[in-house]
Symmetry: C2
Amino acid sequence: MNNINFSNITITGGFWKNRLDINRDVTTVAVKNRFEETGRFKALKCEWKEEMPNRPHFFWDSDVAKWIEGAAYILRQHKDPELETFIESLIDDIEKNQHKSGYFNSFFLTARDEKPFTKRDFHELYCAGHLIEAAVAWYETTGRDRFLKLMKKYSEHIAKIFMDEESADFDTPGHEEIELALFRLYRCTGEERWLNLAEFFLNRRGSSEKDLHCDQPEWMTHSYNQSLYGIRSQDTARGHAVRACYLYCAMADLAAERKHDKALRSACEKLFYDITHRKMYITGGIGSSHAGEAFTRPYDLPNDTAYAETCASIALAMFALRMQQLSCDGVYADTVERTIFNGILSGVSLGGDSFFYCNPLELTPHLKDKDNSVRGNSRNWQPATKRAKVFGCSCCPPNLTRFFASLGNYIYSENDGGLYINQYIPNKLDNGKKAAEISTEYPKNGFVKIKADGYSFIALRIPGWCSSFSINKKYTMKNGYAIIENTAGEITLDMQMRPTLIQASNLVTENCGRAVMQLGPVVYCLEELDNAAPVRALSVNSELSAKIEYDETFSANVIYADGFKLCGDDNKLYSEYTGKKEPVRLKFIPFFAFANRKESSMAVWNRVN
Amino acid sequence: MNNINFSNITITGGFWKNRLDINRDVTTVAVKNRFEETGRFKALKCEWKEEMPNRPHFFWDSDVAKWIEGAAYILRQHKDPELETFIESLIDDIEKNQHKSGYFNSFFLTARDEKPFTKRDFHELYCAGHLIEAAVAWYETTGRDRFLKLMKKYSEHIAKIFMDEESADFDTPGHEEIELALFRLYRCTGEERWLNLAEFFLNRRGSSEKDLHCDQPEWMTHSYNQSLYGIRSQDTARGHAVRACYLYCAMADLAAERKHDKALRSACEKLFYDITHRKMYITGGIGSSHAGEAFTRPYDLPNDTAYAETCASIALAMFALRMQQLSCDGVYADTVERTIFNGILSGVSLGGDSFFYCNPLELTPHLKDKDNSVRGNSRNWQPATKRAKVFGCSCCPPNLTRFFASLGNYIYSENDGGLYINQYIPNKLDNGKKAAEISTEYPKNGFVKIKADGYSFIALRIPGWCSSFSINKKYTMKNGYAIIENTAGEITLDMQMRPTLIQASNLVTENCGRAVMQLGPVVYCLEELDNAAPVRALSVNSELSAKIEYDETFSANVIYADGFKLCGDDNKLYSEYTGKKEPVRLKFIPFFAFANRKESSMAVWNRVN
């Protein structure tokens, strides 16, 4: 399938229009301000010297590049000459300071004595990848190719060092990203050399003695950065979740180019299956472990210490989008939907100016800030209970801005002359001779109207959560899509949306006897402040009597349902079991909206009685 | 109250006789063999040189001393000339290598270049304390005072360095132990100078600039080793649980000597209350955190990552025994009972030759050995699932041998001419003019027969777990004891013992909706191998229909009760909640017996339906 680029799409209203306006008007500005305060933009001037404040970090170029990429997407649909001029000034800095070889990295060019490409975990190729993505986005937005040329020059240098001369101290990057960026450069320019370079990095992985013996931090294993196996032998998701999924994205990109490579496609499918069937939170969060920000064992999905980095959920959506290129199966868009309404969206506050790095599924403030008698102790790690305006490792905020600004990419694909509708976001598509329009209040309700011109059929994804729906036309089901041949006039899809309790596999031991409230694609949680009790004392009545109410604060439905509150004496550490509980009316709010008010205990998985 | 020393007591049968025979015949021998293999005994010869195997560790003297102390207790009631000769040979080594100043530490005298008493966390005073305890025990067993004299000489040296000259680089030990050992030396010799030295160390704590600024590992806070506050200002249990409770033992010892010191007594009471009402597992395990082996926040009692070191439960029993000196209240012996039948006893295998350092309340083997991508990662720490024959930090095994060999200390106390019976262990007491005898199969059942001569009254502890009992004599209740004035003839106490579900405070969030099966003082658990299902899929029927059956394997009752097993599809990560469960008959085994067969999932706290 070919995914349709958001450039041809105007999002016209509803849930996402509201969020994307906040992304443009608040989040992008807030991130810009933080980057100015912390010296990230200034670092591009390469004027930093020892003992000056704001020592550059080796990942700063990537932060800035992601922000530029997001801003470029915003400018594509929203003029802002001041923003445009500002970005051109950043490109001036890059142009001025790019080494004559083509190399550019503001950290190595200023704060660092070592030679370039000697430290595998110092993110040079990762930063290069993000700069390339930013340059492609800038070119596609403005039509001006200055930035693109600079990054092509850098890419030529990388090809020379890594592919032609093999003179770097490692063969493949410690943090993947360059691979998928080179696919974008290839697709933008049509120049096969970038495809070849991406393919080179991918095929080199797992077979490089240099990578296995290069200098990297002692705690880092070869699983951590996916270096143990060749890409066609990788069948279980391992290591740092963002790195892993960026690699898997590029693997899927390559599989789409090299259709004969069945082993590669099979590896991609196994990895996607392993993640979504064994290692993914119900929110679409992945990488459950704080240690290594990493995947661990199948079904190891603790709620209170969930790492579930925002960037990792974004990377999973990116991977799913690319898997969709390989086969028309609704499971990929289902996974995208799970992430965008839950584990990605929870990464930013409702107001748009503060961020979660981690997205836990349970908060217990009274057990936090442990009375630790061990300094610098990360062994009792607990996620933050409040979103922060700024954090040192600021990968997530600009990843959010660029992701939301290009959310339109996830709506449509085309195949065999048909139009596949993957996400129900109100929009107008104008794809040259073809056009389409979606109107809906989704996920407030499950009613969607679709018009389309010029397609031989329309395929509507019937989400995994949806067990009952009706369509005003004849359709046949195929791989999670309702295929409609008669595309004339308005198509209406009515998905029955009711509060539903979801259970986990018993292998997720912590969730045995618990359930999640879900309404359509939105996962719900209990917060103490709505329920006048620590959430762990609450349980849901298994005979669900739920009521939905639209709540303006969250621009979404809240759910009221019958439940119980334990009546034990909190002051008695141990006493004879009474099981005494009193009926209460529970209020569930969308998970994405948690921790937007006062600090409160919160739980996604709640006991059922 | 005066606790009666076990020397006057012969344990005659029942549950503990069996365990203590194993402690003598198997455990003490197994620990001796391990110590021989690892060079711990040989280290006393102070002949170790660089590049030889078995480099001594700074805590090795304490391991050996605890083992000697245990062996001395065993020899007091069981002749073994070979064992006695072996210990004399160890004393030969100590005598031969003791520095002329009186100093003795096999690590500093061989493996270490630094001057003595320059590193606060290098356990010199801790080792000294254990050597003093061993010397006292040896003297009391054999009547021979050679070892005692050596340790008195060492104690004189310590008094000179720390109290007279203040020439050490710190003022109080980083690991407490010397304080309570000096109380034992004082009580054995009647020499007040040891009481004074103990008091000096105790009063110095929390007011020493040297201690706050001495060289200690970077991760170690002043909370970790109880150095922030003076002893009379310590009212919440903090830091390393063993260190803390050894300190609290000595504080209680001092409070017993200095009866006017109300502030000290109050601090002891507050600490005991804080531990037993907010920071203790139902098994008597304390120190819930792997990081720092430490106390954390109130109610922070996770089951699967419970540290609950065996030594810490022993230290809690020791603290409770000393608190009993301060007031006739059954709560202290209740706590002792909780530890000896659960969190201490679980530290050794049924066979007696392998050991747990940590005593978790839940095991999930399929989530263990995480697919960690971080080397040396202790951030995903999980306790061992099997007892080990040997471990590097071998504090627990010899602590168990000396504890069990002197278990008789916990049975009786005297006060005001009356005899207090704290633990129901079959035994004969011959206390000079007074005598007593207890016959019982406890905890197999709650029936106890008592005879006593020469006491003005008998006080029987009615355990906290017991809600219904009868006594064949008139009695009045006082602070958890049934006081019987008419001591003539046989007294029978019949405690009704029935399987009971216990709940935790809702503040222990993980245990909300769960309960523990308890029978008398014994805490029970489910193991997968008895129940053909991962234990988390099981729940207990709240309408308890339990049956007790005596099991020879465990020398204890097992319990059968109705319950349920979740019927979800383990392969579906998420699916609509059905709550489907089938009735099953559950088999509970004593917690102390867990992990004695095949590796299995295990849980103490189970859901109730």
